[in-house]
Subunit: 429 residues, 2 copies
């Protein structure tokens, strides 16, 4: 994504519909101090630690699997209806490290491959590249995963002598597609995993932001046979700046010495060679947030959920206004939550077009090609709406519509704010 | 090191001469709050950031290479006499991540090998294992590296069709040997690296703790031709709980697209797939500490340096008292600083002996075999003195001496506190 960052740096005044970051509207530095104090008080009052032990816990080297595993397990119980042994939780330097640890643990030799629903989150593809684990795409279909294709890919790989070690999925408001799996699809996916003896890696950064729809149980909550390694992130539900995520890896696996132990303990060994342990200061901040909310982050993120839901409605309504006719050849996904909408257009979308969009139209988005093996052929772009105000969504969509219509060589339909476009990239409030 | 941790957990009352952690004597939770505030004030007052931008800098996702690179560069200028471009600094989730990033960047295929002075820090060996980079030992000699052996290993590897990508060294108070390179050795090592076209990876966690001796310039400070990738840690000089370290990688290298750029930017790309960025909250804590000290950590660590120097004298004097005769067959290194002394004994030292030492003698140390390829044959143990009081050093040495003398089947010499040994592992103050 380096090119995308460069474009964003080069056109700082362009409207940001590219970045998948959480809203900054509720950021408060005082929270960091408050959470730290809360966590230290919890260590002293609830766990009975001496002052010396509190200081050591937060300031010294510490447990490789982390110090907030009990709170994470409690959060999973309350928010996800998932009972996990805290010993199966590995707290990581962001969810990205959790991804790396799991892939590194699964990769034994060059026969191993990873399956992933395509389009695929770039962080997953990057981590897989770091451990030399090839990624085989599985079609996403209309329901977040095409199970027939999944089975076909597993069997084809096995027939070729390769070992599909797991399939990576984001069942809730996937990045980048925005799509979710319905409940029957989740159950069917677990059944396929069981039948084909396949591990599932469930990544769930957006589950709490389910808009106006009901939440569905995670795969991990439905998992009765430890088929699912669950990846959690606090970047969106607490603070990105803490860089704290985790993996739940309760699978029983054979270790190097022939004994049987938790996959979490294998991840811990790898982590000890990678980052030693996750900053306990950063963990204390997240721990304090968990304590402040009674370990219920779903409730604690009600404001954020409403903000993202409002923005999502604005984007979907705005696209319908600007492209009223299906004959336009412009279509888009209609997620019920999350951070992303994907717009399909009748022409190729690449980095050059993005550069032109930034320069001539003052709006940034992400070419969908970045989420596929073959970048060039993709005719779609991803719009993120998590860090923009409703006004800027309107202006951003005006600009996206102007770009698309210019590209198609036709006048814009329902350009609501032509005058706003005129002062373009010159300067934004 | 999992076995060592287990032994320590199992015998919590044993005297800790195994852990290479910094002293907790000056730990203060209020410092964390103070440093955070100082860093935020610096962003606002010195860099002129708006409140919104300060919040975004500390709480949002951020620059992959970090946000305290300017302060790190200033610290290197003031404390090490090293001028580095802040753009060549990559701030990492502890120095361990820096190690991983460098090794991952250097490892292209199975022909690549890494050289490392033996005995070698286990974190280096672990990171090398994660990236499938074989480690070839180079003899340490009396001066921290045997240069003849270095040249011989480089040439032997090349003759066998392999590519020695770098040699890993810890020129100041190495972990585990405690040995340092003198100035002529440093210059000669740089000359060898130049002559043999070899990169050096300099790891420097203990340089500030130089006891009563003068500090010597780092390899990086003497490096005029960008032969040295420098690894820095704030675990000992600021706080382990921040988990913040860094690499200085100012080498010009060819990237995947054929362009030429900084090695630091290649490390940054790898980091974006590993941990995305280092927690800016944790960086802010370290940044605040740097600001509080005018970026002079050498001065700011005067108390710590004196404590470690005092403990080092206590260990060296205590060993001399307990093993007065060279005929004992018990010898030890005499470092001038750092955290470690290595004791050589006339019998094999392994994990079983450590377990017995913990159970029967109430003292923990580290079998030196852990720092070699071949664990079993090593007849030495590492004593750490960074987290113990002088009294406990005395008791710990009594216990180590009792173990050694019992093992040699002879009465203890100069056992000063036989009565202290009697209440053994039952409970410690």
């Amino acid at each position: 994504m380096n090119f995308l960052n460069e474009v964003a740096l080069h056109y700082p005044d362009a409207i940001q519909l590219a970045a998948g970051r959480p809203t900054e509207e509720f950021f408060d530095l005082a929270d960091v101090h408050r959470y730290l104090r809360l966590f230290c008080r919890y260590l002293a009052d609830e766990l009975g630690y001496s002052g010396e032990r509190v200081r050591r816990t937060v300031l010294q080297y510490g447990r490789t699997k982390g110090i907030i595993h009990e709170l994470v397990a409690e959060n999973l119980r309350l928010d996800e209806g998932t009972e996990v042994d805290p010993e199966s939780v590995v707290v990581t330097a962001g969810c990205q490290e959790a991804m790396f640890l799991v892939l590194r643990a699964l990769r034994a030799d060059e026969r191993d491959v990873l399956l992933a629903v395509s389009p695929t989150y770039v962080g997953l593809t990057g981590a897989a590249r770091l451990v030399d684990l090839p990624v085989r795409p599985v079609a996403t279909g209309a329901r977040g995963i095409d199970l027939d294709d999944l089975v076909a890919v597993v069997r084809r790989e096995r027939a070729a002598g390769r070992r599909p070690r797991a399939c990576y999925v984001m069942p809730d408001f996937a990045n980048p597609s925005g799509l979710s799996m319905d409940l029957p699809t989740r159950r069917a996916l677990l059944a396929v995993a069981e039948a084909e003896d396949l591990l599932l890696i469930e990544d769930n950064p957006y589950g709490l932001f389910h808009g106006d729809a009901d939440r569905l149980p995670t795969l991990k909550a439905l998992d009765t046979s430890r088929r699912v390694v669950y990846l959690g992130s606090f970047a969106k539900s607490v603070l990105p700046g803490a860089r704290v995520g985790y993996a739940v890896a309760d699978q029983r696996v054979r270790d190097a010495c022939g004994g049987v132990g938790l996959l979490a303990d294998q991840l811990s060994k790898i982590k000890s060679m990678l980052t030693v342990n996750t900053s306990p200061i950063a963990q204390a901040v997240v721990g304090g947030r968990l304590l402040a909310s009674g370990c219920r982050l779903a409730g604690a993120n009600a404001r954020e959920r409403e903000l993202y839901a409002r923005n999502l409605r604005r984007v979907l309504d705005g696209l319908a206004e600007r492209f009223p006719s299906a004959a336009d050849g412009v279509t888009w996904t209609a997620p019920t939550g999350g951070f992303f909408v994907v717009v399909t257009v009748p022409f190729p979308v690449d980095d050059d077009l993005l550069a032109r969009s930034a320069r001539d139209y003052g709006v940034l988005w992400t070419p969908m090609g970045h989420f596929y093996d073959d970048v060039t052929a993709v005719r779609a772009l991803r719009l993120s709406f998590s860090t923009v105000s409703p006004d800027r969504i309107d202006t951003g969509l005006d600009r996206v519509a102007a770009l698309i219509n210019d590209r198609l060589g036709r006048p814009a339909v329902a350009v609501i704010n032509r005058d706003r476009l005129a002062d373009g990239a010159a300067g934004e409030p």
